[in-house]
């Protein structure tokens, strides 16, 4: 099993519903978030092109945060999801410094927090909150090892990219372009 997510940069309108849904679902403290919207504008007026990306933890296959963690609090769970176990985390910040995507933040309670692909929802057969709520249906989630999953199907059909693959992390958040 290998969970992955794909975000359609052509369909996304940058409404931030995914951000709000995640904050509500995961009780993210005010002022923080586990996913966020990036807007990149290219070109010169009037020929402009905009890419909108819903970004979050890339759940890397070779995750630097898991490598750098001194206590094993950052770890892989089933399906390659990267999580933090709060009771093992000492809040040293090594994982925050080690993430090329800057996907982690220090939770006010002391431990480090991040996107979990809503592992608690996946377990019940549901999609992650951001995927479930997206009004343009631009987020795809599923098991890459299952050829019939939403994410496998869309990645077969569409041209896609990952963010800074040269960081050597083998990221599992794909962007359809």
């Amino acid at each position: 099993m290998r969970y992955a997510m794909a975000a359609d940069t052509l369909k996304c309108v940058g409404c931030s519903d995914c951000v709000v849904a995640c904050q509500a679902e995961n009780k993210v403290p005010i002022g923080y978030c586990r996913d966020w919207i990036v807007e990149v504008t290219d070109g010169t007026y009037p020929v402009l092109e905009m890419e909108i990306r819903s970004e979050r933890c890339n759940h890397c296959v070779n995750a630097p945060c898991v490598r750098c963690c001194p206590t094993g609090a950052s770890r892989y769970i089933e399906g390659g999801i990267v999580v933090v176990v709060p009771d093992k985390c000492i809040g040293c910040g090594a994982c925050i410094a080690s993430c090329p995507y800057d996907a982690r933040y220090p939770h006010p309670a002391g431990y480090v927090d991040k996107c979990t692909f809503c592992a608690h929802r996946i377990k019940k057969g549901m999609d992650p909150a951001c995927v479930a709520v997206c009004p343009t249906k631009c987020l795809y989630f599923g098991d890459l090892h299952d050829p019939n999953s939403d994410v496998s199907q869309v990645l077969r059909k569409r041209k896609h990219k990952t963010l800074v693959p040269e960081a050597g992390t083998d990221p599992q958040l794909y962007f359809l372009i």
Binding site: G72, D87, K88, G91, P106, E166
Partner: protein, 303 residues
């Protein structure tokens, strides 16, 4: 850090560079003490072997307190000692501190009568412990030398393991921090020693290490400039960017070149106030850690 999700953009503040500096200096002091003890030169280099090491436990304890202050989930710090993770330099650094800190206390305790001639341990078991460690002093010195070197070099390796921060992601940082720590250790010995022969010897050592440091710094920048765009941009922070003045003035000129020139003049019998060059070396070593830790957190992959 990510301005989209983090209210603050630096995860590490003054505590980490302060610890890296104190740990490096303590490592330098302990390495020289062990080295000259093992070479049987205890009598000639009294300050290095018996006096300067008294500072090491103090520096290490302040450093450990700074590390503890940096943690955000403090009551779980013991998790560091419930796990050994070979891939994480921070994990084996924690274990190294667990060895070198008690060893530095024991070494100081063995020489306490150099400072307080009337010292009395009061309890018999403490006397027995002193006898035991005196009998195994050579083994103790070997442990101190090896773990001192690990302590000196791991602080650099710790930062270089973060490939997300292109400025840190260079294997030169380990040797550079080790050299800087040894140099600060040698400077401490020069500062404390009253024996001209000992001062001269450590001035020569310090001069050699400063030469190595200058070479490593130049080599580090050559490496950045010959690497990928993110590392070229990391180097630019020091070559015209916002850290240019602080790095080249405080670390390279005041911390390396001027003390080296003063030490050369002193070795050539010019009269130079003896405290100036060691203090500059220690200051440079301190600034190196601060600038690298702060600048490194600003360097990142751009996409």
């Amino acid at each position: 850090m990510n301005s989209m999700i983090d209210p603050t953009l630096h995860i590490w503040h003054w505590q980490i560079p302060l610890y890296l500096f104190l740990g490096g200096m303590a490592a330098g002091i302990l390495c020289f003490a062990a080295l000259y003890y093992l070479r049987g030169r205890e009598k000639e280099y009294l300050t290095a072997v018996r006096v300067a090491p008294f500072l090491a436990p103090i520096l290490l304890v302040i450093g450990l307190l700074a590390l503890f202050a940096d943690l955000r989930h403090r009551m779980y710090f013991w998790q560091l000692y419930a796990n050994i993770r070979m891939q994480s330099p921070m994990s084996w650094g924690a274990w190294t501190l667990m060895v070198i800190t008690p060893v530095s206390f024991i070494w100081s305790a063995l020489h306490i009568r150099d400072i307080f001639p009337e010292w009395n341990w009061r309890y018999k078991w403490l006397f027995n412990l002193e006898v035991f460690f005196n009998r195994h002093k050579t083994a103790l010195a070997w442990i101190m030398l090896i773990f001192g070197l690990i302590l000196g070099i791991y602080t650099g390796i710790l930062l270089s393991a973060f490939n997300a921060r292109p400025l840190w992601n260079t294997s030169i940082l380990g040797p550079l921090f080790l050299a800087s720590g040894l140099s600060a250790g040698a400077a401490t010995i020069i500062f404390l020693s009253k024996d001209p022969a000992e001062r001269k010897q450590f001035a020569k050592i310090d001069l050699a290490i400063i030469g190595i440091e200058l070479f490593l710094i130049i080599h580090m920048f050559m490496g950045y400039l010959a690497s990928s765009q993110v590392q070229i941009e990391a180097a630019r922070m020091f070559l015209g960017g916002e850290y240019t003045a602080s790095f080249w003035i405080f670390v390279v000129i005041l911390g390396l070149i001027i003390p080296a020139l003063l030490e050369i003049l002193e070795l050539r019998k010019y009269h130079i106030p003896a405290v100036v060059s060691p203090l500059l070396v220690i200051f440079g070593s301190f600034m190196l850690r601060f600038i690298i830790v702060y600048a490194g957190q600003m360097s990142r992959y751009l996409y």
